[in-house]
Amino acid sequence: MSDMNLTVHVWRQKDAKSPGKMVPYKVTGVSEHASFLEMLDILNEQLQAKGEEPVAFDHDCREGICGMCSLMINGRPHGGQKATTTCQLHMRKFKDGEEIFVEPWRAGAFPVLRDLSVDRTSFEKIQQAGGFVSTNVGSAPDANSVPIPKEDADRAMDAAACIGCGACVAACPNGSAMLFVGAKLAHLHSLPQGQAERGHRTQAMVNAMDAAGFGNCSNHYECEAACPKEISRDVISLMNKDYVKASFTHRERSGKGDGGA
């Protein structure tokens, strides 16, 4: 086991209103078994030992399923390793003495809160606009009473793998969130339970996405390449088809009664 010494260029920004800049730091004694986030932990310990402010970054489960970690590493979301989140990226993928560039997700809809930490509330707003099914509580239906083809269940599951990290937005040259929104829609629209609110959901979530200030998709497919959960661009195609159908044929809610969202 060999320890590495690295130069890490980190985006430092005091708060949402202050301008930021890239600052180089030396990090010493990093184990090749450390994850990328553990390397940042080591950097922060060394910064604190010198009396400097530690680097703020987002993280939570550190096992690749929560969607909290982010980071643009050397120009690629989550470091660019296939199907890997930053927390699952290991320092053995880097070389001793290497210079590493670490930046926050860059999107107007993801404002920087501090250093590498961004506000992804815009994703929550899109989810709240329609990323759910409405059901009655109390009377659980009999399991398997609705037959679902295996292919449909697989498609729904593939889309549901989205952890909402925002790598798609970060990777997109236009800062578009269409892979995220497409995944949330494809998850529910591949199943019978999602059909009842399909038209309303598609419009509500796409409108929320547009209102949040995300860019427009121009079919570069950088999102698909960057997605740590390997969500396919097919979800965007499905969303495009559903949106035009909903726009031209969906009878919009009147707002009367208690069903209007």
Partner: protein
């Protein structure tokens, strides 16, 4: 705002407008190409085709329709580029694209070159301000001699070169656009390799468009009596 305005102003509506207007222009480009391949059929055939187009009952309907399509495509593109720039106010210090292609990333630039060329092309062959001395010639049947105008035009190396650059830009633009519309309309399906359609159409149009002028330049297509 009506539902239609909301659709047109939405991110997905805008890209579907780009898709449909783009597709309209691709169809025009294909028809235009087959028209001009008739240069290989000789002066009589080509002038006959030009005469047919000139006397088409719906000539102005087609022209205005095409102009409308082009204008909508351009204005939607400008609005999208501006929104996309605004969506990333701070640029990355390091950004490495891996999936996109030069074709997809330079759509705006190739589009502007094509627009500039179309204006020049219309001034040359439709309005007649580039080479007015060759514009109103008649052939032996009393029709406009479009054939000779074509040959004299592309015997000029400068005109040929500008045309070649523009047709290459068209090839690049369609390399992305002519498969992108399928995804934008939501018709992309794993059973059909439609992502190859753009590059294939781009190459077909490039070859189809460059062939007649090249034949003129190398002396394969000659002026009548030459």
């Amino acid at each position: 705002m009506s539902w239609f305005q909301r659709y047109m102003r939405s991110s997905i509506g805008a890209k579907q407008v780009m898709a449909v207007t783009g597709l309209g222009m691709v169809l025009f480009a294909l028809i235009h190409m087959t028209g001009h391949l008739q240069m290989f059929g000789g002066r009589d055939m080509y002038n006959g085709y030009a005469h047919f187009l000139q006397h088409l009952e719906v000539k102005w309907v087609a022209r205005l329709g095409l102009i409308a399509i082009v204008v909508i495509h351009i204005f939607t593109a400008i609005s999208l580029v501006m929104k996309n720039r605004a969506a990333r106010p701070v640029a990355y210090a390091m950004y490495k694209p891996v999936a996109s292609t030069p074709m997809s990333r330079y759509m705006a630039m190739t589009g502007l070159v094509i627009l500039a060329f179309i204006i020049y092309h219309l001034l040359h062959f439709t309005i007649g301000t580039v080479q007015p001395q060759y514009f109103h010639m008649l052939d032996d049947k009393g029709r406009y001699d479009a054939y000779s105008m074509f040959v004299r035009g592309f015997q000029n190396v400068g005109i040929f070169a500008s045309y070649a650059v523009a047709v290459f830009m068209l090839c690049m633009h369609l390399g992305h656009g002519a498969s992108s519309w399928i995804q934008s309309l939501g018709w992309r399906h794993p059973k059909y390799g439609t992502d190859k359609l753009g590059p294939i159409l781009g190459i077909v149009l490039f070859l189809g468009y460059i062939a007649p002028p090249t034949a003129v330049l190398i002396g394969m297509i000659k002026l009548p009596g030459a």
